[in-house]
Symmetry: C2
Subunit: 101 residues, 2 copies
């Protein structure tokens, strides 16, 4: 695995409590709202909060990725963030709908 | 307010991220599952985890109460825990259904 290929949990490894924790922080929830409209580059993501330090943003992304909420994949020279919407809807029906409404 | 009357947030003060945080811990989520079947005395609650120290249990209850998830009210010589189901369903439609299913 190349160093830019980050690890993502498989759908059946995703824990409900980890997803709830990932979404329990206002800055992380805002990122999830942003990517719920479609994939975003890392550069675009967090645009509603431009004062966010890069290291803080990296940590928010790591929590969201490790909880199974987003995919963070290489895309050209940058990275692309995608909400794992279909997988999460299958594993936890109605959860994202109720949180992102 | 008597010392045994604990504070509870009003329904319109309840924050989604606080509710998600309260439910993001396996021990707290288990308590919520227990009270989702009906009010329980403090003594009955947490019965699925009898090894839980009393101080830990008190703290779990405090987080759930302060987030607006449960009511913790005096009941005779003990205390009674109630899930704020109707209020939460009104404020965050579908959320508890998706988490407790």
């Amino acid at each position: 695995m190349a160093s830019y290929d980050l690890e993502h949990p498989a759908i059946d490894e995703i824990e409900l409590t980890d997803v709830l924790f990932a979404l329990s922080d206002p800055a992380r929830l805002e990122i999830v709202r942003e990517v719920s409209a479609g994939p975003l580059s890392m550069a675009e993501c967090g645009a509603t909060n431009p004062a966010l330090p890069k290291s803080t943003k990296s940590h928010l992304m790591k929590v969201l990725r490790e909880a199974g909420v987003v995919r963070n994949e290489p895309d050209g020279r940058g990275r692309r963030l995608t909400l794992r919407r279909e997988e999460l809807d299958e594993r936890f029906p109605g959860l994202l709908d109720s949180i992102l409404r």
